[in-house]
Structures are given as C-alpha cells and as structure tokens.
Symmetry: C2
Subunit: 209 residues, 2 copies
C-alpha cells in the first residue's frame, strides 16, 4: 500500500458512511424501524453488511441511526456557520423572542413526516437500551440542552431572568412538555403551543421585584 492511496480510500470510506446514513434514514422512514434490517441498509447503500457490523459492532441498526442524526445535526450547525450543534440559540437580547423561535423550529422538526419514524425509533431504542441511550443523550441531546443553559445564563446576566433560578431546571420546563406531547401524541404540536409554553415558563423566570 502506498501513501498516495490513502486519500482515495478515505474518500470512498466517507462516501460509504454517508450512503449508509441516508439508507438507514430512508428505510426507517419508508417501512418503519422493526422491518428495517442491517442487510437492507447495506443493500440500499451499496456496501457489504460486514462493513456496517465492523463500523458499528453493538446494536448496529440503532447505532447507525444515531450517527445519521449526529451527522444531520453537524451539517445543520455548519450550514449556519456554528462550530457545533449546541451553538444554536440566538441572543437578540429578547429572551422570549429567541426561545419562541427555537421552540417553533423544534415543533416544525418534530412535525416533519420524513423524520417522524426515524426520530421516534431512535428515541425508543435509547429508552430501552441504556448504552445507546447514554450515547444519544451525551452526543445528541445534551449539546442542545447546554445551548439553552447558555442562553438562560446570558438572560440572567442581563437582568432579564431571576439569577436564583437553576437554568437546567428552567430549560427542562421548555423542552420537557414539548417532548412529552410529541412522544405520547396527547395534543397537537403547534407554534401557538410553543409560544404559550415560552410565555408561561418566563412568568416563572421573571426577576423578583
């Protein structure tokens, strides 16, 4: 093997990886998680199934799906010029407006039919598989939650939110209800709902006078 071959091999490998992500998302979206197999993903991606088992040895189907979402989050962050997926909450100086924007965008994502089945499948696997769940939480969820922490801390520093409130608790009041409604399909997820949620939570965060 000469060194000159390395870039080509690396490009091929990167292409295969991307093809595997796309195949996993497409198949789960089309036929559901239960009917999607590693063999099916490999066939659609044009790779051997041993490639998938080698790259994702444990709970391969779910692990591929998790990395596909991590890749999407990375791409989305890069598209807006951010360094990582957790840098995504704007700070215009208007906390209510900034949170409404982010929660409305989350509502739109959760309502997107293309991602409904893959997102649900990944959440469900994380709930029953502690190892995958820990990876999901550490790599995908926690960076998003930390973005809320930073935005709430900035509001506290600016005098727009009570500095005695735990930002971690405050952010859970925003994302918890939204995910509860989505996961259990109790009531529709709408922009109006996102706005009401922000308004009620901010009443609790208001600086004490």
């Amino acid at each position: 093997m000469s060194d000159t071959k390395a870039p080509d091999a690396s490009r091929r490998s990167e292409r295969s990886r991307r093809a595997i992500y796309a195949a996993a998302l497409d198949l789960v979206s089309e036929q559901g998680y239960a009917k999607t197999t590693v063999e099916g993903i490999a066939a659609r991606a044009g790779v051997g199934k041993q490639t998938i088992y080698r790259w994702w040895p444990a709970n391969s189907k779910a692990a591929v799906l998790l990395e596909a979402f991590l890749d999407l989050a990375d791409q989305a962050a890069r598209a807006v010029g951010a360094e990582d997926a957790g840098a995504g909450i704007p700070d215009t100086g208007d906390l209510a407006a900034d949170l409404r924007l982010v929660l409305r965008a989350t509502v739109d994502e959760l309502n997107d039919p293309v991602f409904d089945r893959p997102t649900r499948a990944l959440a469900a696997e994380g709930i029953v598989d502690p190892a995958l769940g820990a990876e999901f939480t550490a790599k995908l969820l926690e960076p998003q939650l930390q973005a809320y922490v930073r935005r709430i801390e900035a509001a506290q520093a600016a005098g727009d939110a009570d500095p005695d409130v735990d930002p971690r608790l405050a952010l859970e009041l925003l994302v918890g209800p939204l995910h509860h409604r989505w996961l259990h399909r109790t009531l529709p997820l709408t922009h109006a709902y996102a706005d009401s949620l922000v308004d009620l939570v901010l009443r609790g965060l208001a600086p004490r006078t």
Copy 2:
C-alpha cells in the same frame, strides 16, 4: 352449557388473565422486552399461547404489558378507595404540598427497579406503534393528566392559582420535565428535584396581583 358453569369459567378466565399480566411484568423485568416472547409469557402463566393471541390479537406482547399496567393502576386506585386511577391527587388546600406529594410518588415509581424495564418497554412501544401509543395515552396516561387538571382548576377556583393559565399547559410543566429526565436519563430523579420543579412551576401559576 348450563348457566351454572359461567361463574367458574369466568373465575378461571380472570385467574389466567392475572397470571398472564404477572408473567409479562416478571419476564420483561428479568430478561428485557426484546427477549420476552408470547410463548414465554404463556409458559410462565400456565396458559396456551393461543389464549394470549386470542385475547390480544394486535401487537400481543405490548398489548399484554399495557393491560398489566392498567390493572396495576386500577388496583392502586382501589387500594386508596378511589373510583378510578385518575382520581389520585389529594386536595388539602395547599397546592404546593399536594403537588410535591404526587411528584415525589412519581419519582419513587420511576426509580423502582422492578418496574423500570417494563415501564420503559411500554413507553418505547407506544412511541413507535401509533395504535398502541393511542391506547396507552387514552387509557393510562390521560386519566392521570386529568387528575392534575382537576387539582389545578380547584386551586384556580380557590384563588391559589391564576385563573387565566391553561391547566393543561400547567400540568405539562410538571410531568414533562420529570419524564424527560427519566426517559433520557439526563440527571437523577430525586425528591429534591420534584420539589424544585413544583416551586418553579408554581411561580408561573401565582395569581397576578
């Protein structure tokens, strides 16, 4: 068939049903949901597997698990003399104390290792299977949520909570964060957490002066 046989048949049937619930909960708790089979549940319960397929024709394993939880909720409600599982929030006149009591009890339930795997398995199935999820939400979740609605409405009538706040939104601020933390195992679920959650949510519900 004479009428005199009906009570015996009904008792036998009731005994089998209960044995199936117990077997499903035990097996999922012991070996996880993925490894639990309808055959295994039938064998442990001492019934034929056709009995299970006849009584629960669609998504049988998950449907048995859902009914096992409904049965537990019924029993728990009857144990405290309530008519149904949704009647469970006390009204001592102190909204904060009543909510802390209920959320602390929920924390204890979610932390109970015996029910951890079955509860997670049922939640995960409901997330990916819309029909089962709708049944889970309508029969098990919604009665619990309605108990919060009634308690918050009583507080509004008593002047302890702002009557302009939507009780439905308010209850989601209580149960959403708790379930988010449990499902994604982000941080520990403790009584102190339940108390802080109630305190922060009630700040948002305080009557406007």
